[in-house]
C-alpha cells in the first residue's frame, strides 16, 4: 500500500505526517525492532527502516556510527523485511531507506517482491536518481511500491519535474545541501524547494535533513506534507533507550500538529 493515503489522512487532520528513521540492527536486531515499536507508540505515522551500509555517503556521523555498530553485529538485508513486518504489526506504515547496491545485490525484482510481501510501502533511495532507475521503476510498478526519489536545493526546474514525475508516494526534499544530522536550523531553502517541487507536479513533498526539535518540526509542518526525522531519534535512543525514544517521538508527533 502506498504512503499517499497516509499523507492524505494527515492532511485531512490539517497536519503534516511524522516520518521517523531508525536503522535496523541498532543496537542489535531485536533492540532495533523494540525501538521501532516505541517510535510507533510515540505517534509516528511512517517508519523509515534504514539498512546499514558500509559506505553511507549521504549520512552524517550519528547514523554512520549506528550503521557501523549494526554491521559489526551482523545485520543482514533480510532483517529489513523483519523490521517492516514489526512496524506494520505495531500499526504504522513502513518504507525502507537503502543505498542502491544493497538492493542490486539482493536482486531488484526479488527485493521489491519481498518488501511488498512484508507490507512495506516503498523505498527511499538516497543514491539512486531516476536516470539510473529503469529496473526499479519496472519492479515498483509490478509490486505497487512507492519510489521515493530525492530533490535538493541545487535541483534545477527540469530536474524537479523529472524527479516529481518519476516518484510515487512522496518526494523527499533535502532541506539543505548536506548529509543527515541534527542542525540548529532547518535550511531556509526548504520552503521554496517544497513549493517548487509541488509546482513541478509532486502531490506530496516531505522534508528531511536537520530536523531535531519539536519547534523545527512545527516550522516544517507549516509548508510540507511530512517531516522526516532521523539523527535526533538515534540520539534519543542512545541517551535513554526506548523510553527516551518514545518521549522524543511524541514531541515530534506534537510538532507536526503545531503547524499554526
Amino acid at each position: 500500500m502506498s504512503t499517499a493515503p497516509v499523507l492524505r489522512a494527515c492532511a485531512a487532520e490539517n497536519r503534516a505526517a511524522f516520518i521517523g528513521y531508525l536503522p535496523v540492527g541498532y543496537p542489535d536486531v531485536p533492540g532495533s525492532l523494540d525501538a521501532m515499536r516505541a517510535l510507533v507508540a510515540g505517534g509516528v505515522d511512517i517508519v523509515e527502516v534504514g539498512m546499514p551500509y558500509s559506505d553511507p555517503g549521504m549520512d552524517g556521523p550519528v547514523i554512520e556510527a549506528a550503521g557501523v555498530t549494526a554491521l559489526a553485529g551482523g545485520v543482514r538485508t533480510r532483517d529489513v523485511l523483519t523490521a517492516i513486518e514489526a512496524v506494520r504489526e505495531a500499526g504504522a506504515a513502513a518504507v525502507t531507506m537503502t543505498y542502491w547496491n544493497i538492493v542490486e545485490r539482493y536482486g531488484v525484482e526479488a527485493f521489491a517482491r519481498d518488501l511488498a510481501a512484508a507490507g512495506g510501502s516503498g523505498i527511499v533511495t538516497p543514491d539512486l536518481v531516476p536516470d539510473e532507475a529503469g529496473e526499479w521503476i519496472a519492479a515498483s510498478d509490478a509490486h505497487g511500491l512507492d519510489r521515493i526519489f530525492l530533490v535538493a536545493p541545487s535541483s534545477r526546474p527540469e530536474r524537479l519535474a523529472y524527479v516529481a514525475g518519476s516518484s510515487r508516494g512522496f518526494v523527499y526534499a533535502a532541506s539543505t545541501m548536506g548529509v543527515t544530522g541534527t542542525r540548529a536550523e532547518v535550511g531556509s531553502a526548504a520552503a521554496q524547494l517544497v513549493a517548487d517541487t509541488r509546482s513541478a507536479g509532486a502531490e506530496h513533498v516531505c522534508v528531511g535533513l536537520g530536523v531535531s526539535t519539536r519547534e523545527q518540526a512545527a516550522e516544517v509542518a507549516a509548508y510540507a506534507d511530512g517531516v522526516i526525522v532521523g539523527s535526533a531519534l538515534v540520539k534519543a535512543l542512545d541517551s535513554g533507550g526506548t523510553a527516551a525514544l518514545e518521549r522524543q517521538a511524541a514531541e515530534f508527533a506534537a510538532g507536526v500538529r503545531d503547524r499554526g
Binding site: 559506505d55 549521504m58 542490486e104 539512486l128 536518481v129 539510473e132 530533490v151 535538493a152 541545487s154
Partner: protein, 409 residues
C-alpha cells in the same frame, strides 16, 4: 609532441556516462547539478585553444613533459630477454602521473569560478599533486586521507601540509581510501557552490571516469609516438598497475584501436589468498562511489575491505572503463601478489638504478611474466606511474634493511 590532447568528438570509443553496461551516476540528486556543470565546462574547455595551450604550457614548464621513455636492458634480462621500455611518469613534478589530472582539473575549477579544491588520497600522491596545484593557482585546499594511510604514508601528510593544504585523517570505516572518498563527497555536497572535487582516479560518477582518463591520456599518446620512434613499431604489450585505474587508462587509451597491442592491467593480489584488492579478477559487479563497475563485496552488497602492500592500490573498486575493457576482452587483467611486486621493486632498483613506487612495481612484475611468455623478440612498455621515495620505509622494513639495534651508530 604533435598530437591532439583530447579524444576527437568523432571517436568511436565510449565517452561516458556508460562504458558498455558500466559507469553511470549513482549519486545523491544534490550533486547532479554540479556534475552537469563539470561535464559542460569540460566539453567547452577541450575545444578552447586558450585552455589547451595553458595545459600544454604547464605540462612543459611545470610538470616536465613529455616524460622520458627509458629502455631497461638489465632488468629485461630477467624477462626472457624481451625489450622493456619504461614510460617515466615517476619523473613528473610531484613524482607520479597524478599531476596530469590535477593540473587539468584545477584549471577547470578556475574556469568554473571555484576557489577551493578538495580531494581524497590513498598513498598521498594524488593529495600531494592536488595540494601542489592549489598552491600554484592560489586555491584553498583540503585533503581527506584514511587514518590508516596517514600513518603508513606520514611523509606525504607532511608534504601536503608544507604545501598549505589542510589534511583530515578519516577515522570512519576501514580508515583507508574508500572512507576518504565518502568523506570528500560529504564535504562536497555541503560546499559545492565554491568547491571543486578533484577526483583522483577514473572511477566515481560521470563525468569523472571520462574526464580523468582524458587528462591522463597524454601518457599513452606520448608513449605510442616514443616507442614507434625508438623501435620502429608498436609494442606487443603495455602494462600498468590498476587500483582505481587512472595511470592504466591513461597508458592504454591511445592503444585501444591497435588490436595487436595487448593491454595488461596488473591488480594488487595482496597475499595471494583472501587478502587482496583485485576488483576485476576476483570481484563482482556492483555499485560503489557513484558508478556501476566491478568491486569487492559480500553477499549483501556490503563493501569488503581490500588489502595491498601498496596504499595507492588498496581500493575495493575500479573504474568502469576498466570493467568494460575486462568484460569485452580487449583488456587483460592479472593479479600480482605483494611478494611479486616487491621482488620487481628491488630488481628494478638493482638493475637500472630506478626505485619505482610499489604501485608501479605491480606493472613491472606483470612485464616480467609477459616477457618470459613472449620471448626475446617482444617489446613491452611499462607505465612507471610513480617514484618510490615514499615507499622506502615500507621497503626497508619488508627487506630488513634497517639495523635492528643501531644505538651504537
Amino acid at each position: 609532441m604533435d598530437h591532439e590532447l583530447f579524444s576527437s568528438p568523432a571517436s568511436e570509443l565510449p565517452q561516458g556516462p556508460y562504458f558498455g553496461t558500466f559507469g553511470g551516476r549513482f549519486i545523491p540528486e544534490a550533486l547532479i547539478s554540479a556534475l552537469d556543470e563539470i561535464t559542460d565546462a569540460f566539453a567547452k574547455a577541450t575545444v578552447d585553444p586558450g585552455f589547451v595551450a595553458e595545459l600544454h604550457r604547464l605540462h612543459r614548464v611545470y610538470t616536465g613533459r613529455p616524460s622520458l621513455l627509458t629502455e631497461a636492458p638489465r632488468f629485461a634480462e630477467h624477462a626472457g630477454g624481451a625489450r622493456i621500455l619504461l614510460k617515466r611518469e615517476d619523473l613528473n613534478h610531484t613524482g607520479s602521473h597524478k599531476i596530469n589530472n590535477v593540473l587539468g582539473q584545477a584549471l577547470l575549477a578556475q574556469r568554473m569560478g571555484k576557489t577551493r579544491l578538495i580531494a581524497e588520497t590513498g598513498a598521498g600522491q594524488h593529495g600531494v599533486a592536488t595540494a601542489t596545484a592549489a598552491a600554484l593557482m592560489g586555491l584553498e585546499c583540503r585533503i581527506y586521507m584514511g587514518a590508516q594511510d596517514t600513518e603508513r604514508q606520514a611523509l606525504n601528510v607532511a608534504r601536503m601540509r608544507l604545501l598549505g593544504a589542510e589534511v583530515i585523517a578519516v577515522e570512519a570505516g576501514s580508515r583507508t581510501l574508500k572512507d576518504a572518498i565518502n568523506a570528500t563527497f560529504r564535504d562536497w555536497v555541503a560546499s559545492v557552490d565554491t568547491t571543486h572535487y578533484v577526483f583522483g582516479t577514473v572511477a566515481g560518477p560521470h563525468p569523472f571516469p571520462m574526464l580523468v582518463r582524458e587528462f591522463q591520456r597524454i601518457i599513452g599518446l606520448e608513449a605510442r609516438a616514443q616507442i614507434e620512434e625508438l623501435v620502429g613499431r608498436l609494442p606487443d604489450a603495455v602494462t600498468a598497475c590498476v587500483g582505481g585505474g587512472s595511470n592504466a587508462m591513461g597508458m592504454f587509451h591511445a592503444f585501444i584501436p591497435d588490436s595487436g597491442v595487448r593491454l595488461v592491467g596488473c591488480e594488487p593480489g595482496g597475499d595471494g589468498g583472501e587478502l587482496h584488492a583485485a576488483s576485476l579478477t576476483r570481484g563482482t559487479e556492483g555499485v560503489l562511489h557513484g558508478a556501476r563497475s566491478m568491486m569487492l563485496q559480500d553477499d549483501d552488497g556490503q563493501t569488503i575491505e581490500s588489502h595491498s602492500i601498496s596504499a595507492g592500490l588498496d581500493y575495493p573498486g575500479v573504474g568502469p572503463e576498466h570493467a568494460w575493457l575486462h568484460d569485452s576482452g580487449r583488456g587483460e587483467y592479472r593479479a600480482i601478489t605483494d611478494a611479486e611486486a616487491m621482488e620487481a621493486f628491488r630488481l628494478l632498483a638493482r638493475t637500472e638504478g630506478i626505485i619505482p613506487a610499489i604501485e608501479s612495481a605491480h606493472a613491472l612484475a606483470g612485464a616480467l611474466q609477459l616477457g618470459r611468455d613472449l620471448g626475446p623478440d617482444a617489446v613491452i612498455a611499462v607505465c612507471l606511474s610513480g617514484r618510490g621515495d615514499k615507499d622506502v620505509d615500507t621497503a626497508g622494513k619488508y627487506f630488513g634493511y634497517f639495523d635492528a639495534n643501531n644505538e651504537e651508530d
